[in-house]
Amino acid sequence: MTTVLDATAGVDVASYAVDAARQAGADDAQVLHVYDELFEVTYDNTDVGMVRTTVDDQVSLTVFVGGAKGTSALTGRSHDLINQAAAEAVAAARAGVADPANQVYEGESSALVELGDAEPQQEVMIDTIVRHQAFMAERFPKIIIRDSTYEFRNRWRSFANSAGVTHQARRASYSSSTIFSGRDGERTTSFNYTGASSVTPFGEIRDAATLLRLLGDTMASFDPKPVPATFVGDVIFTPDSVTTLLNSVFTALTGLVLIRGTSPFQESLGKVIADPRLTITNRPCSPEFPLSATFDGFGLPSEDMPIITNGVLENHLVDWYSSHKLGRKANASVYSIDVDAGDQSLDDIIANTERGIVLGRFSGGQPNQQLDFSGVAKNSFYVEDGKVQHPVNETMIAGNFAQMLQSIRAIGSEKVNFGDDAVTAIAASGVTISTK
């Protein structure tokens, strides 16, 4: 891996950019510098097709002039380029609109935090892929893997603002992304995919999060059929699909949605919004989440905090800007969802299901502001009388994510850490499951 620039100089680059913005006429400025090195290997069943290395060096300036905001971002760190970007950001701000919520963060600086390898274990990674190809040929010869990647990313993030706040952090991670489908003569299955990140290399690709289970599910999916009839039943979100539910809920808790005034959780702080078995914590500070961050783009340090505890909404996700618009306490806009494990295995949840589906993946339209959703159940299975009956196709689900939080009937006991979130299976009732 070729390092062409001094990665450790990020705070100096950011501080120079803050000064350049002030000299260009900014009242205040904040700058995020990201230096990123990637080593990525692309492979399929038989070929290791490409090694891709990239270096990125981005400076993002936000300036305030008379309370109006302007931004500019560039690749590179030369003083000429930064001076030009600072002038462009100031020009944008001068054309802008004053907003008292536009302020730089005033708080404590932090010392450098580092996590993970400084260099990729290149040959170990390629050898791991070659072993995985052999494993797939032996155990899953009817599964086609395509455009899958195993990567190492080393990222330095540095921050400075005109209030004298500085931060710097380096986080490195290994990530596996696998895309696959089953093929047996003219029979084919839906595409499926999963990915995971880890601070250390994966011993075997198949050990990355849920891959081995999903490969087995794909082998069981060659003869899908629609659910027998339209009905209202249970949806069992697997760890791979549960972020469909959780991310939609989290979006509705964010500051910008609260500013719009359209969130179904607008007035829900301290109130019950979910079944009491549900507890979700934001844990961006945990070293178990290499894809998280120790500070956000405003310079706020990340902090762990409860979001939903025993079904009660404890915190909205209010970033620095939104906090001033809403008159609320700010928290860093860095999120790593950690769901408390429940007391039933996925197999137990299925055994306790009268009628519903195990949802492997949701292919759906964007939920609306009220969190109404509808979409196709992909990589999914029909469940009746506590047993998986068959894989499904041409089956749709529709409901409301906010209502589903209230109708949760089981939380899975097997937590999966994907590197950004750690989640479990969640089963909820009252979903319309339809066929054509």
Binding site: D44, V48, K69, I179, E394
Partner: protein, 460 residues
């Protein structure tokens, strides 16, 4: 940019693509009247990709200096050598295709708008809506400009420069219905620099008035009935239908990955009324959503007729898949950013217009739906697809009745396309369109209105 590339072009002895690439963006976002985004970015650098009979090596650096370019070439070669040592394959040479050359510069000839003029245009739209329709619960106005500027030289002799701009103004309205907020959106602008679209935004006001009517109708709307129905898809949906239902299924890399399309070349997969083309350049009428003349492997782009009168003809190729299928590459290899490798991507994808009129088509439906505005979409190797519906209406006895709330439609493309009975006589291109497949990339999606049977998700 071309001068710089020419200095290196004659020294590219092994298979090499050398690309200088910058994405220029401008974003202004008003959320509830607040300017939450106001700025520009310029993200660029050099990339090199090499191939030597066994594997690709790719490397990129965030600079176009005369230090960075040799560095990228050397690193790419080193990456190929690493694979040769650890995982040799030996797959043979890549086909050359028709070598592309030329300058394709779509800079506007009009004077550029200043930062203040662009922000004023966005605020004018916001202020018009705020003053005219004070009962709206929320108004978001978002300006998104992207220009992809690329220079490419290859060892096969390609040498080309392009500047491809697109300006999209998206307006999203929320109205508080009895059961909560409902939203609709519309997009304005399209291909070209901001000065091509934002000089007089009052031209958009009649369409904004219509958009307000739509959100009021939707607030009083009903949930669609789940199940299979007769459906008229507005031309706005036909583009995403072409893209999601067929286009992805016929990308040759996905065919190699198991897509069911691989089994059906030469077969009737659709009604004979359906002809579907992925167009190069700016499409058949010069109004496609993007422009592409030479792809990022240096191949001259050509139109690809995927389905002709219902028969599946061929797939979309880059050089690697063209070698696997023993055909010529079609110019579908595209990369989004300087540090991205080219992938098989669609360009301007459209169902060809037919001879029916929209009014006749609606009148032919006893009970069904008229779907007018899509949201997102996804495809699958089984040809099962979905896309979200942001606006639509019930049809009863040939007449449009109540609006419906957000829903999703799905189907198996190679079954659903056989149910197409009507194709309207107009070709309309969407204003925007981004496709995600490892990388995001702008695409053009267009088509006529289509009548078919399709499955709707719903709760009633």
């Amino acid at each position: 940019m071309l001068d710089q590339l020419e200095r290196y072009a004659s020294h590219l002895d092994h298979y090499t693509e050398l690309r200088l690439h910058t994405n220029h963006t401008k974003t202004i976002a008003l959320v509830g009247g607040n300017v939450v985004s106001n700025g520009a970015s310029s993200r660029g650098g050099v990339s090199a990709r090499t191939y030597d009979d066994r594997a690709f090596g790719f490397a990129s650096f965030p600079s176009m200096s005369d230090d960075a370019i040799p560095g990228a070439l050397k690193s790419a070669g080193g990456n190929t050598a690493l694979l040769q040592r650890r995982a040799p394959m030996g797959k043979g040479d890549l086909p050359v295709g028709t070598v592309g050359k030329g300058v394709f510069d779509y800079h506007s000839t009009k004077a550029p708008l200043t930062d203040a003029e662009q922000l004023d245009a966005v605020r004018a739209v916001d202020e018009y809506l705020r003053a005219t329709y004070p009962d709206l619960a929320n108004i978001d106005v978002n300006l998104s400009f992207l220009a992809m500027e690329k220079g490419l030289a290859t060892s096969a002799g390609a040498l080309t420069y392009s500047y491809i701009p697109r300006t999209i103004l998206t307006v999203r309205l929320a109205f508080m219905a009895d059961d909560g907020a409902v939203e609709v959106y519309d997009s304005f602008g399209g291909f070209g620099d901001p000065q091509e679209h934002l000089t007089d935004v009052s031209e958009f006001f009649p369409d904004l008035d219509e958009l307000y009517k739509r959100v009021r109708e939707k607030a009083d709307g009903v949930f669609a009935k789940p199940g299979e129905h007769d459906v008229i898809m507005h031309s706005r949906l036909a583009g995403i239908l072409a893209h999601e239902a067929i286009g992805h299924t016929c990308e040759a890399d996905l065919v190699l990955g198991g897509s069911i399309a691989g089994d059906h070349v030469g077969e009737m997969v659709a009604s004979e009324k359906v002809t579907l083309v992925d167009y190069a350049e700016r499409g058949p009428d010069g109004n496609g959503g993007i422009a592409i003349h030479v792809d990022d492997e240096g191949v001259e782009c050509r139109d690809v007729t995927i389905i002709e009168n219902g028969v599946l003809k061929t797939f979309l190729h880059n050089k690697e898949t063209a070698r696997e299928f023993d055909v010529e590459p079609t110019g579908n290899a595209r990369a989004y950013a300087f540090d991205d490798e080219p992938l098989v991507r669609m360009r301007n994808t459209s169902i060809a217009p037919g001879t029916d009129t929209l009014d006749e088509m609606i009148a032919s439906v006893d009970h069904g739906y008229y779907l007018t505005r899509p949201t997102n979409g996804q495809a699958d190797g089984t040809s099962e697809f979905m896309f979200g519906i942001g606006m639509g209406y019930e049809i009863e006895n040939g007449k449009i009745t109540r609006a419906i709330r957000d829903t999703t439609i799905s189907g198996v493309a190679f079954d659903m396309l056989k149910t197409v009975t009507h194709v309207s006589d107009e070709l309309t291109w969407g204003k925007g369109g981004m496709c995600g497949k490892k990388q995001m990339i702008p695409v053009g999606m267009g088509g006529p209105a289509v009548k078919c049977r399709i499955t709707i998700g719903g709760r009633s």
